[in-house]
């Protein structure tokens, strides 16, 4: 009879530890099924279309715009920029696996040597600086065009960010997750308040888009911007819209957020670049 208390303690300890901390994989399952259950008529893959999967009037306009996408010229320019060699003769293809084609779906990556999340835009700029070129501003302009071109070579490939496993990876993932669920700004909203809890409902006249599928179509050509913009550009404007201090593009908080958010969309096809309102 002596072993019973010990056994009980061990069993309860096992149960406690296995239930209290969800793994990223479990988070992802919960996250994705929240949306597929909330919108049973929409398949998981379609969430990358955001509001256009939820609102027919908006979708009709989007499909009309896609008949002749407004970003064609910028995308072509992105391709030209990508294929233009640096002053030292090297080019972007030399910095990336597979020559930079069909790789966007694996970003962001966790660099274990430097213990940080590396996004595609950051990798593009690191390629530049390694080849003695000036880095590009991170929110719009050339970097968005180059990233858009690279994304276009991944069209249809499934988002496949490596599952965070090491202590450092999990720390960055958790930081991103915390950011997503924390309230901020004068309006005191968390990302989740709008894009999880109230997905499909309206904030004034805007339909709130699902966070599932958020990163798959970036860089995005917003009709409002009349240009391509990176994911961090959108993070910053979203922060401003809830009257929170916007952070700088490629800051640690945004990179960790991108890490969490993209992992949550693992399995969805890359559908960028795309046009949005």
């Amino acid at each position: 009879m002596n072993f019973l208390p010990k056994a009980l303690i061990s069993i309860s300890l096992i149960l406690l530890t296995s239930v209290s901390v969800a793994t990223p994989e479990q988070d992802k399952e919960t996250f994705q099924s929240f949306y597929t259950e909330r919108f049973p008529d929409i398949s998981k893959e379609e969430f990358g279309d955001g509001v256009y999967a939820l609102n027919q009037d908006a979708r009709d306009q989007w499909e009309s715009m896609n008949d002749f996408p407004p970003y064609e010229d910028d995308l072509e320019e992105g391709e030209t920029l990508y294929n233009t060699a640096f002053k030292n003769g090297k080019n972007y293809a030399s910095c990336f696996e597979n020559g930079g084609e069909n790789i966007r779906q694996h970003y962001p990556k966790f660099d274990s040597k430097r213990s940080m999340v590396v996004t595609l835009e950051m990798a593009i700029n690191e390629c530049r600086t390694h080849n003695k070129e000036e880095p590009l501003p991170y929110k719009k302009g050339d970097i968005a065009k180059i990233s858009a071109y690279m994304a276009s070579t991944s069209e249809g490939s499934e988002i496949n960010v490596a599952t965070p496993k090491s202590k450092d990876e999990l720390a960055a993932y958790d930081a991103g997750k915390q950011y997503f669920y924390s309230k901020r700004g004068q309006l005191n909203f968390s990302c989740a308040n709008c894009h999880v809890q109230n997905v499909g409902r309206k904030a004034r006249s805007e339909t709130l888009s699902p966070a599932l599928g958020h990163p798959t179509h970036f860089p995005v050509y917003r009709l409002k911007w009349e240009s391509f913009g990176t994911l961090h550009r959108r993070f910053a404007s979203c922060n401003k819209q809830i009257r929170a201090e916007p952070l700088s593009a490629q800051s640690e908080a945004y990179r960790n957020l991108e890490y969490f958010l993209t992992y949550m969309s693992n399995g969805l096809p890359v559908n960028g670049p795309a046009s949005r309102k």
Partner: protein, 152 residues
Amino acid sequence: MAISRRNFLNMLTVGSTACLALLSPITSWAAWASDAFNATTPDDAYKNLFGSTDTIESEKVKLKVPKIAENGGAVPVSVKTDIKEVESITIFVKDNPQPLTATFQMSAKTIPDVSTRIRLAQTSTVTAVVKAGGKLYSKSQEVKVTIGGCGG
């Protein structure tokens, strides 16, 4: 052999007619209707373009335009009809500073089905007018333009 004066004059006339034909605009098509485009009220725009404000509302004019514009600067609009012998399709935006937005002239071979993207200064009524057989057939729809909340 010298060219006879008659032949030379013939050549000149034929030559210059040909040149004139190249230079002159296609005269069977209406010139850009500046009075109509510059009109600031729908009535004036109609009068200047068609000479009349008498339109017949018709379900045969299919106007496709959104209920709530995603972006007031680029609102997709489509007009088509199966009315025969269409001369022109015209789009008006009632509350725009210049209501006459675009007018499309049809040749005998043109299919009366056009699409474009237009600007709306504010929530307004978009009207499509099909001119056929000397009559004006119209269809209207209101399009809401918002500044929006968080996406706007």
